[in-house]
């Protein structure tokens, strides 16, 4: 083994040790690296108790109600298994929509509702022109119509 080979071996070994250390550290801090908790985790008491945290999920369709006098809104967040009702006073982001992703920061009240102090919209990684989105929506609804028609010949 020449000194040059030894140096490269040392660099390689160093990087391997570093990777293992990083993996262990990230594993230990797993709960701190999570940006939000899902409703299922909240129900399972995996979310921090007694201090603010974020929940994330989908806004349930037709669950959004607005208080006509104030800026208070109520909606339900779901991960398709469990749901959490959310109350929020303030302006919602433009991309906030029923059926779309949302991340809310706040704390869980004793009655089981989540009082949010900040609501962020979480969009997905799909990008398409409006015509394509409309076509896909029409196709989906067309398929739904057919499934509805099937049971009643």
């Amino acid at each position: 083994m020449t000194p040059r080979h030894r140096r490269f071996a040392l660099i390689g070994a160093g990087l391997c040790v570093l990777a293992v250390v990083a993996a262990l550290v990230l594993n230990a801090f797993q709960s701190n690296l999570v940006f939000f908790f899902s409703p299922s985790q909240v129900v399972a008491h995996e979310a921090p108790q007694g201090k603010p945290f974020r929940i994330g999920g989908m806004v349930v369709d037709h669950s959004l109600t607005r208080d006509p006098a104030t800026l208070t809104v109520r909606f339900i967040v779901t991960d398709t298994v469990h749901t959490i009702p959310v109350v929020y006073t303030g302006l919602l982001p433009d991309l906030f929509k029923e059926g779309k992703g949302v991340v809310a920061q706040g704390s869980l009240q004793p009655d089981g509702t989540f009082r949010a102090t900040e609501v962020l919209a979480k969009h997905d990684e799909n990008y398409m022109p409006p015509e394509a989105a409309a076509a896909m929506k029409a196709a989906r609804e067309g398929m739904n119509d057919k499934t509805f028609e099937k049971p009643q010949p």
């Binding site: 990087l15 999570v34 982001p93 991340v103 900040e118 962020l120 022109p129 394509a132």
Partner: protein, 245 residues
């Protein structure tokens, strides 16, 4: 193959190569950048959910890719510098750092201006954004560490070591959206799956990516000439090439 790559490990033979190639890469960057911006801002349609705000993607994503890739290249040159103890490898690593920092800053800055209209906030401490900020700090740290040494050869070794330690951050950035819940969305383009974007959007983004590649290579080849001229100052061979030029 017929090419002896080790020939170009010497600044003496690398300097004329860098001098000859740099303008071509920068010209390519200008042409591709023009085409990419025209495709992205003129031809590509608006997005169904995000409207025109999504167009930041044409600068944001290529810049973020470059920021990560330049760091890996810098780490590669640093490993060569430590292993072979070659001057040029360290000079290349030194030349890459400011461009990498620029790309990381560009990705964070455009990301903030994308986040405000879509998520509703400029900044959130999620894993993707925090690890990208650490990447920017690593670039700035490497540049600052070099400035702290008077002896260029000692600075080379210290910077190479810091660069190699920091390289663990790159896979963390890339996989952060898969490993943890983040506010940042997942990847639209990967090597293993079909892109989840309209074809013209992908085309515009790839053209912009190649433009940034060409820009970064051109600028780094330009900067490395200045670094060679500075560090080899007084060397007889440099005086000869300067006269021959």
């Amino acid at each position: 193959m017929g090419i002896n790559w080790f020939r170009y490990a010497s600044p003496v033979s690398f300097l004329p190569l860098a001098r000859a190639l740099a303008p071509w890469f920068l010209a390519t960057a200008a042409v591709l950048g023009g085409i990419g911006l025209w495709l992205g801002f003129g031809v590509a349609p608006t997005d169904a959910t995000q409207g025109d705000a999504y167009r930041i993607i044409f600068i944001h994503v290529p810049a973020a890719w470059m920021a990560m890739f330049i760091y890996v290249v810098m780490a590669g040159w640093s490993a060569l510098a430590l292993g072979y103890n070659t001057r040029l490898s360290a000079m290349m690593a030194q030349a890459l750092a400011p461009t990498g920092a620029l790309m990381a800053a560009l990705a964070l800055w455009t990301g903030a201006f994308w986040g405000r209209p879509t998520w509703g906030t400029y900044w959130a401490w999620d894993a993707r954004m925090s690890s990208t900020l650490i990447l920017l700090f690593l670039y700035v740290g490497v540049i600052a560490l070099r400035g702290a040494f008077d002896d260029a050869r000692r600075a080379d070794r210290a910077c190479a070591l810091l660069t190699l330690v920091g390289v663990v951050n790159v896979p963390i950035i890339y996989f952060s959206v898969r490993w943890w819940n983040t506010l940042h969305q997942g990847s639209s383009i990967s090597l293993t799956a079909a892109p989840t974007m309209a074809a013209i959007m992908v085309t515009a983004m790839l053209v912009m990516t190649f433009a940034l590649w060409a820009y970064c290579i051109g600028v780094v080849l330009w900067r490395v000439q200045a670094i060679v001229a500075e560090r080899e100052e007084g060397a007889p061979w440099l005086a000869r090439t300067a006269v021959a030029r």
